[in-house]
Symmetry: C4
Subunit: 238 residues, 4 copies
Amino acid sequence: MKKNNKSLKETCYRCNMMLPESGLVIHTFGNVSVADRERKLFAIKPSGVSYAKLKPEDMVIVDFDSQLVEGNLNPSSDTKTHAFLYKNWGNIEGIVHTHSTYAVAWAQAQKDIPMLGTTHADHLATDIPCTTIMSDDMIGGDYEYQTGVQIVECLLERNLSFGEIEMILVAGHGPFTWGKTAEKAVYNSIILEELARMAYLTLQINPAVPRLKDSLIRKHYERKHGLQAYYGQKKSKQ
Amino acid sequence: MKKNNKSLKETCYRCNMMLPESGLVIHTFGNVSVADRERKLFAIKPSGVSYAKLKPEDMVIVDFDSQLVEGNLNPSSDTKTHAFLYKNWGNIEGIVHTHSTYAVAWAQAQKDIPMLGTTHADHLATDIPCTTIMSDDMIGGDYEYQTGVQIVECLLERNLSFGEIEMILVAGHGPFTWGKTAEKAVYNSIILEELARMAYLTLQINPAVPRLKDSLIRKHYERKHGLQAYYGQKKSKQ
Amino acid sequence: MKKNNKSLKETCYRCNMMLPESGLVIHTFGNVSVADRERKLFAIKPSGVSYAKLKPEDMVIVDFDSQLVEGNLNPSSDTKTHAFLYKNWGNIEGIVHTHSTYAVAWAQAQKDIPMLGTTHADHLATDIPCTTIMSDDMIGGDYEYQTGVQIVECLLERNLSFGEIEMILVAGHGPFTWGKTAEKAVYNSIILEELARMAYLTLQINPAVPRLKDSLIRKHYERKHGLQAYYGQKKSKQ
Amino acid sequence: MKKNNKSLKETCYRCNMMLPESGLVIHTFGNVSVADRERKLFAIKPSGVSYAKLKPEDMVIVDFDSQLVEGNLNPSSDTKTHAFLYKNWGNIEGIVHTHSTYAVAWAQAQKDIPMLGTTHADHLATDIPCTTIMSDDMIGGDYEYQTGVQIVECLLERNLSFGEIEMILVAGHGPFTWGKTAEKAVYNSIILEELARMAYLTLQINPAVPRLKDSLIRKHYERKHGLQAYYGQKKSKQ
């Protein structure tokens, strides 16, 4: 399906509205972007506009260098983070940033979300990474751009692939998720919040519980995402 | 009332939809099956289809050996677990699997839910059992079938009857419940989630609280389920 | 306003329905009764009937000795507890029993809810009492009647007045509340649940926090309930 | 826009109704006032009237010395606290008091809400202050007036400006927020509750987590509120 600016804005609007509908954001918090990789541009929520007043035509279109392409409003203050990720990671077409409560709590606690059960393993095969706190140099520089750098480098340092790990916590800040479509990126934000909540409760009940063992992680991850995946209706990777 | 494939699918659809309505599942998580014990087959949710798009005719009918009887979609990836339970346990006509938050937290914590109050004793007279983590052999074999084996064996080892204990936690995974009807199995999933939440909060408030004493457990369990039961409107075992 | 059986049943139905509407109960849990003190009888929810199916005409009328006066269904299994309280305490016209989550957690934890803030002091001037666990003799006797005995004795032992303390936790079981009207009794159940939740969170944040000091308790309690009360629109003691 | 008594009452009613809609209050808890600084008066919720029954014409108008200007009902019992704040702090036109659960829990725990993440820093650059418990003298005097005194003095002692810190916890009691408009004051109450909840969860996950570092606080606070603010659609301070 051919993407034009109008359809891009509409998808972007629709996916942004999923955030308050899922209880992930209040007021103006959070933002979703949707990319057209061919034309190297993306639509993103305008900055500081509350969801209650948002309209499809308010979406702003910028290129992968964060330059304005179309729109009357300022794009999200996190635009440079999105742009950096699109530029560095081929293939992804949606990015979501929220301040969902449990994911933020883990980010503020500066802890990876440990792999404790199969709900987690159904979605990714590792702990959910939390970056380190950003250095003063990076904060003092181009902050939102550096947030993108920080995310890309965190995965690199841990040898993780953005195609398999579609979610991260930025320490002291909150979650970013992405996906092959914007819908998948939103889905990942919803799942991340639930995994964050389950892990929180699990450790309150039993602080000594070990990480889920590897054979069980692989089993659940592979039955959904492996070459022999048998979950769902097709051999699609969902 | 005679059951045919159509009525089986409709009951199955209706009971599956109770899960998101009760807040027990999001997206595609969870599944309910409904059995016709006479014909030795059951209807079950298709795999990976979200509740928002589910239709009665999507339900899949398989026999107690998990062989397809009727349906255009793949049955739930947990079908073999359901089949094993129906085959081994006479009498039950409904099975439910969810990833409800508090029950999953206890399963991930790898702990039985202790008997701490009369809300619990109104429904079962023992702790809610949590299996051990599955062995690598079983995981590497026919995983979903082995999950059924694990559930049946856990009750056997503890000398518990599936007619009295209609709920279990699979360690690292989540809850399964069952019942004489699918509606009762769904009811048990809702109750389990509430018992899991109450036990969690109780132990946060007072980690040293002892198990409820036996005389009180028996009193509450018997007034609802005993031969002299006087709770409710008839001598039915509810 | 003259009360007859019909109006008693209607009030009782309406007040019972407030419980699921306020999120205090699920399924068949909980019950509200409404008394006509002049005629020494009360209407109460029938046993084991779910709120979704409840009708005004289902309410059962019994006297203060728990003898059936009017109704086709069995009264709540907790009827004898209600009857004992009405018989022993003049003045109260409504009693509520729920299994609301946080209040049950404190009851299961077998702890009084400590006085930690002015929201609590706005409603009562003491900790919310939790009984001891019932003795085996009492459990083996007339259990629901003995629950009433236990509640009355707990207040007596602590020198508390049922006119000032309109809520209690029965250890290992859950909350009972009462009031000069059934509406007030329901209101007390809602407040109790919120106080239980606030106290839980407070002690999680600061386990060492002291009880609220007496001068502040008296100030808040008296401005709502004292002779010089100035809260609200009249010198009513609500 | 010229304010008259009628428009003041309507704004006041509308902002009061935002409290139950946002889940911040139940029953009669909480109150919002809206000031006309030119005429030195404000509209406030009547005392002890439940939100379910509230009407715009019920709002009461009093002056900055708490003297009745217009209205048939008693003003909120907290009126003198509001009046003291309006009188001492130029510029603010709205004040909100709630008993929202997590903010109350921190107030009852008698702890400042520590600065743990950027969601917090987006709104204020310091911990959220909690006063000390009021002295017996102040409680025994004009209690609600003294609550205002306590709030003003707490900010003074800590060298905080009411223009930058628009929220406070009164120890053992609960939160007050304010703003240049009543809508902003309500917004601040919603944000405070969310920050209180996030901080609670963060410390449960990692009790040893340090305060967010200063460079990150300044960055987030300044991008929204500084002279070079670039968040949102205009250089307004939101």
